[in-house]
Symmetry: C2
Subunit: 315 residues, 2 copies
């Protein structure tokens, strides 16, 4: 067993337009860190020593903190009962941004326990721990935690029983993320999603989702981008984001292959197959938020993280 | 230009459980044939000289016959205006069986015109002709005509604009088809499909459909078979088929990876990855129709036809 580890849980973009609750992907360079060490006088409990980067908003009580819940459940799955684990959570992601902030914390924490124990359980064995953590803050959905843990795109064909199919992201897929300066809670964003839809909306979304998945399997980025076309969730959530349609139009005008809301929002994502274009799209989106909604926004250009949860250092 | 051609349009299995209106696949050994020759004194019109195998049920009027409509539209697309084409249609498929009988006729007829003209248009150019023919008898759907024309599985991400993605069928995918001795019109079968569904039904079906497509792209037949799980259309149509759930249970019990209704029914399809198992499944399904519904049924064991419309002979 290791004495000390530092781990990483990546940010994730969920839904991808027509894939509500069914798919997400990990992105590079944005995420949360967790450090963990043993406390020998213990009984298999998690303690959270400190949290940085959260502006004091998150509770240290491990039962009320997504990282604590995930780590506790991971420790239970691995079967440690004779000592405690002490965590420090370093938030790198803004909360309520639609980038899987809670799932990044949960993933980094569960992976910290896994790596501290030098467990030989496969990554997938930690998924129930992450789902439980996510359920504690925003409901029973795997479209952030599965890709954060496994890397690449994760598709969830079934929740009962839970199944996850991992699909690596194509190299030439560039992602522009623009976060306007507001926050939306996942809980609120879920409440506006309709519970009844027309069969026509279903075939529209299922068709575009299927086209996206075939294109991803084939590495066809332009075809994949065109499939970002959602008749169910985007229309319901658009009104939560000032100037949504104008910013989306600006992204497409600047060369985006597709654009929609990342997870519960308010971050928008746009895809392209060229780094320079990805930056031009970012500029156009930020400018449109400024002129059409008098709102500041933060752009990031990134790519798919095909690795997922990872060990940063250990001793 | 050729003087005479004989062509083949294969039977198709549509829907595949969760893929209502979105996917179908061509199957081997079952289909309709068309022979075609020129009538030099003409103006680009289709004439239907004879139809065999239809028990006198189909009209010779080319405007009222799916083969006639498809052939006429193909001739228009190819641009022939100075002679007529004379067709004979040989029905090999029973009508109202859920095996794409009308689309097999339309496909064979349009391909006969294409081959008679020795046109260099790609196959996809004939899709609008086939959609128009299908619309004349059962509505605007491409999930039979696209795979009949192109072979393999065809997925339709979008109808406006029409897009088709072809995915070859895996070699080890065996299909058991069992047609009970009743017939259902596509029009009637479509009327029982709900026009409003719950979001939960949508995510259930879209999830299983996505899992099926990823599995097809990977050639993972067991995973593909398990994804045949439909919460929208099968429950609505099951009551049209006597003893449906008993026959499906018998198929799964006999080793089927999945089982549902082929197209609008009443034919049931079951998938497996072994020829002997496919025959055992057929026996179990026929026996269950007999004992549970006092009904005769016709079994066929087949595989995916990756070729689609083809030329059988020419002079």
């Amino acid at each position: 067993m290791r004495k000390h580890v530092e781990t990483w849980g990546p940010a994730t973009v969920a839904n991808w337009g027509p894939g509500y609750d069914l798919m997400g992907a990990a992105v590079s360079g944005m995420g949360d860190r967790v450090t963990a060490r043993w406390e020998p006088n213990g009984t298999g409990q998690i303690q959270i020593e400190a949290i940085t980067g959260d502006q004091g908003k998150l509770p240290l009580d491990p039962e009320k903190n997504t990282a604590g819940v995930a780590a506790q459940e991971a420790l239970r799955i691995i079967g440690v009962t004779d000592k405690d684990v002490v965590l420090t959570l370093h938030k790198g992601l803004p909360m309520g941004s639609g980038l899987g902030s809670s799932s990044a914390s949960a993933t980094a924490a569960a992976w910290a326990v896994h790596q501290l124990c030098e467990s030989d359980l496969p990554r997938e064995a930690l998924l129930p721990a992450l789902l439980k953590a996510e359920a504690a803050v925003s409901g029973w959905h795997a479209d952030n935690v599965a890709p954060a843990l496994l890397g690449g795109f994760a598709f969830i064909p079934s929740y009962e029983p839970l199944e996850v199919l991992q699909v690596p992201g194509p190299n030439e897929l560039w992602i522009t993320l623009v976060k306007p300066d507001i926050s939306i809670s996942t809980r609120d964003a879920r409440q506006v999603v309709p519970t009844e839809i027309s069969l026509k909306q279903h075939t529209h979304n299922a068709g575009h989702l299927g086209g996206m998945l075939i294109s991803l399997c084939r590495g066809d980025v332009p075809r994949m981008g065109r499939a970002i076309n959602d008749s169910i969730v985007e229309p319901a959530r658009a009104s939560l984001i000032p100037a949504f349609y104008e910013v989306k139009a600006a992204a497409l005008e600047a060369g985006a292959l597709g654009c929609s809301i990342s997870g519960a929002g308010p971050t928008l994502f746009a895809v392209s197959n060229d780094e320079n274009k990805a930056h031009a799209i970012a500029d156009a989106m930020v400018e449109t938020f400024r002129t059409q909604a008098q709102m500041d926004s933060t752009p990031t250009v990134t790519v798919i993280d095909n690795e997922g949860a990872r060990l940063l250092q250990s001793s």
